[in-house]
């Protein structure tokens, strides 16, 4: 755009606005101003990834020991009082036993952290224990809600969360994103195990009406400077439903629209249940080179991707990771792409169920899942009971699932060793 086309309407003289008697605010003018700005500032409960909230959603938690993939989770109580928190992992597979909940306590201003694949045997300052992610591999969401001392969800807009997805091989890399936070409306929780997001009976802010993000499209060739040269990009997106049903899975249908750098748009509709992870160029087709999300089809290396829930299904949240492929093979460095939140869903509520289905009956003390309890596994159980080893070293000995190994659970493990695992 040439210099002549856009000009300011002002003179070149330095502009100052002296506070003359004509402009000096009267008390009434100040009052009017306060009313105007006060009305504008009185915003309803909001959804945001940059402000403390009562409910946090981490749309993508990744754990895969074979690929040396894990997620470092940081959860902070930014408030001035102790805050109880209840969290739920839900794996995208929705397979039995792949959801787990846990409760922790954060002191005023206290930050805590753990790796999803490992958990934490004991958070500092008697914060409680965090189990490892309930599936291996795990690809799903984590939701954490502020509660009262009895575990009933309660307003407490103090939680902030950061997740860093760490990859150990073939090259070490990491990408960080902020959890999406939902502020509380102040309405009481009529069902303690179901959170209402938006709608007439809203307990928390409404889910966004849509999302927008500007990733590099798949197959784009991007210059990364002299040290890395030109790399081909792949963007992997995780879409989680705003509603959550760990038993049956919440469903959503979304319109996915991509607008290229020339302002041209293409759209595809896709359904999902609870959690979806896909390369961008596989959202609409199995043949990436033909995808509307490929740079070749779109005609530009980046696009404005808009994700809008349609129909009566759930709203959605998302996070994307762009990798810059290593020419020698492998994904190369990766960056997180956090979407913009567009509007809010006013017509219908999203429901988050916190009740986790019971895991299938396991063999007590069978640490390695081989349907037999060996002596070393009994020893692991005893060590856990004595506090000499973390629970994560053998969760199967905690058959009650309460985070504590009691005498009866050790006895059950011994019985399994002597008599064999239950059929």
């Amino acid at each position: 755009m040439s210099a002549a086309r856009i000009r300011l309407p002002m003179s070149a003289a330095r502009i100052r606005r002296p506070v003359s008697s004509a402009r000096k605010p009267s008390l009434l003018r100040a009052a009017l101003l306060a009313m105007l700005l006060g009305s504008a500032a009185a915003a309803p409960a909001s959804v945001s990834s940059s402000a403390p909230a009562s409910l946090l959603v981490f749309p993508q938690i990744s754990v895969d020991a074979e690929r040396t993939l894990d997620t470092y989770i940081e959860l902070t109580n930014s408030g001035a009082a102790t805050q109880a928190v209840r969290c739920v992992y839900v794996d995208g597979s929705m397979a039995a036993g792949t959801a787990v909940d846990f409760r922790i306590v954060l002191k005023a201003g206290q930050p805590v952290a753990w790796r999803a694949g490992v958990g934490a045997a004991a958070l500092p300052r008697d914060g409680g224990a965090v189990p490892p992610a309930p599936a291996t591999p795990f690809s799903g969401a984590l939701r954490c809600v502020a509660t009262d001392v009895d575990g009933v969800p309660a307003a407490g807009d103090v939680l902030i969360g950061i997740a860093t997805i760490e990859r150990g091989a073939p090259t070490i890399d990491a990408a960080a994103y902020a959890a999406t936070g939902f502020a509380a409306t102040g309405a009481s929780a009529d069902q303690p195990d179901v959170l209402v997001l938006g709608g007439a009976q809203a307990e928390y802010a409404a889910c966004p009406a849509g999302l927008a993000l500007q990733p590099f499209l798949d197959g784009a060739r991007v210059g990364l400077g002299t040290s890395l040269g030109e790399r081909e990009t792949t963007t992997r997106i995780a879409i989680a439903t705003c509603s959550s049903d760990p038993v049956g899975g919440a469903t959503a249908t979304v319109d996915l629209r991509v607008t290229n750098e020339f302002g041209q748009s293409m759209t595809h509709r896709r359904a999902l249940r609870e959690h979806l992870v896909s390369d961008l160029s596989n959202l609409d087709t199995a043949v990436s080179s033909q995808s509307i999300f490929s740079a070749a089809v779109a005609g530009s290396p980046t696009g404005n991707v808009r994700i809008v829930p349609v129909g009566s299904g759930s709203g959605v949240l998302a996070i994307a990771l762009t990798s810059f492929a290593d020419p020698r093979g492998g994904p190369g460095p990766q960056t997180a792409v956090q979407p913009q939140l567009l509007g809010e869903r006013t017509a219908q509520a999203d429901l988050v169920a916190l009740t986790v289905p019971a895991a299938p009956a396991a063999c007590p003390g069978d640490c390695n899942g081989d349907a037999a309890v060996a002596i070393n596994e009994l020893i692991s159980g005893v060590n856990i009971a004595l506090g000499a080893a973390p629970l994560s070293s053998c969760t199967a000995v905690d058959s009650g699932g309460d985070g504590v190994v009691a005498i009866n659970e050790l006895i059950a493990a011994v019985n399994a060793a002597l008599l064999g695992c239950p059929a």
């Binding site: 309407p9 500032a41 760490e166 070490i172």
Partner: protein
């Protein structure tokens, strides 16, 4: 919006609000009913105006990219997009060098509805089907990119349609990306080159035209030198912060200084404080602050929450956090730019003064 004649210049403000501001307080005594209706209208006008906010996840009218590097060893990929599907926007952007006394280099661009654009700080973007040329950053550049939404006449506007993203390409190959920090427009904008952030009144600012910079920024991070469990023994985590004062007199090249207070809480509930001044632009290593305040060896804790706030009377600022994971050999093996959270509005009003005669 209806332009309204005033004693100094045209003020394209929302019509109802403009009427409110021109009110003479003597009316209340002579026409009480009319005045009551007037109050109601003013209140409704305020209710309709969008609450101004600092945001990286919604469209805004001012974008600040705190860290842009193009110094021969590294580069930065810059993305801007019109997040709205309702119409085009124009933007005036300026590279502001953080080290050379606020020297700036400006340009304008236009984005149609939902249109994104991409360029590198080192190369710019040639003119073509995507739009006019975008210049490269000045040579050996380390600083910020500031973008302001304007209308086709060059007047600052408050449509809140701009979003942005930067991908840092350092010489060590540890690529990382961040979302630009946005300041939304309040809907009250007199269209001059003095952009008023927040509601504090002064000789130059009577109304808050844009969101105030936050009162507090919160960073969740690990202590300096904490071992990275994935990298193993000998590894270390290090955190850097880029701080940019919100008050920026780009027109006169007059840098502002802010006083930043750091309040640190460890996972063991221990609390510490330190302060540091920042003039113009600063790329700070936490290891260099507070005489080892952030060191794992001193704190005895790995996990920290650090709140950054302006000391009373100091202006607001924006912050970019940068976490480096270093191997036992000391080299950076990965870099992340975790988003910071923020709360409240800085008490002291901030002002951005754009350069005159910009394109």
């Amino acid at each position: 919006m209806r332009a309204m004649a005033g004693p100094h210049h045209a003020m394209p403000i929302d019509a109802t609000a403009a009427a409110c501001l021109s009110s003479d307080g003597d009316d209340i005594h002579e026409y009480p009913v009319r005045f009551a209706v007037f109050i109601l209208a003013c209140t409704l006008a305020g209710a309709v105006a969008a609450p101004a906010d600092t945001t990286s996840e919604r469209g805004a009218s001012i974008l600040i990219f705190p860290k842009v590097v193009s110094d021969g060893g590294g580069d930065t990929l810059l993305q801007l997009a019109n997040v709205s599907e309702e119409g085009r926007i124009d933007a005036f952007c300026t590279y502001v060098d953080g080290r050379v006394g606020w020297q700036s280099s400006g340009f304008s661009l236009r984005l149609n509805a939902a249109q994104p654009t991409l360029w590198s700080a080192a190369d710019g973007r040639p003119a073509g089907d995507a739009g006019a040329a975008i210049p490269a950053a000045p040579a050996d550049f380390r600083g910020e990119l500031l973008c302001v939404e304007i209308d086709p006449t060059g007047t600052p506007a408050s449509l809140n349609r701009l979003v942005g993203r930067a991908t840092l390409l350092p010489s060590d190959g540890a690529v990382a990306a961040y979302a630009a920090i946005g300041l939304s427009g309040s809907g009250f904008n007199d269209g001059d080159e003095v952009l008023c952030l927040g509601d504090a009144q002064s000789d130059t600012c009577f109304l808050g035209e844009y969101a105030a910079c936050p009162a507090t920024w919160t960073l969740s991070h690990r202590a300096e030198g904490a071992i990275d469990e994935q990298l193993g023994a000998g590894s270390a985590v290090a955190t850097r912060l880029t701080v940019v004062p919100c008050s920026q007199n780009v027109r006169d090249g007059d840098p502002a200084t802010v006083q930043v207070r750091f309040d640190v809480t460890t996972e063991l509930e221990q609390r510490f404080t330190t302060t540091t001044p920042v003039t113009c632009w600063a790329d700070l290593a936490l290891a260099d602050l507070g005489d080892g305040l952030f060191d794992r060896a001193m704190l005895g804790a790995d996990v920290l929450q650090t709140q950054l706030a302006p000391i009373d009377g100091s202006g607001g600022f924006v912050v970019l956090g940068e976490v480096e994971r270093r191997s036992s050999g000391g080299g950076v093996v990965s870099r992340t730019l975790p988003p910071l959270h923020h709360l409240g509005a800085a008490v002291a009003g901030d002002v951005i003064t754009l350069p005159m005669g910009r394109p």
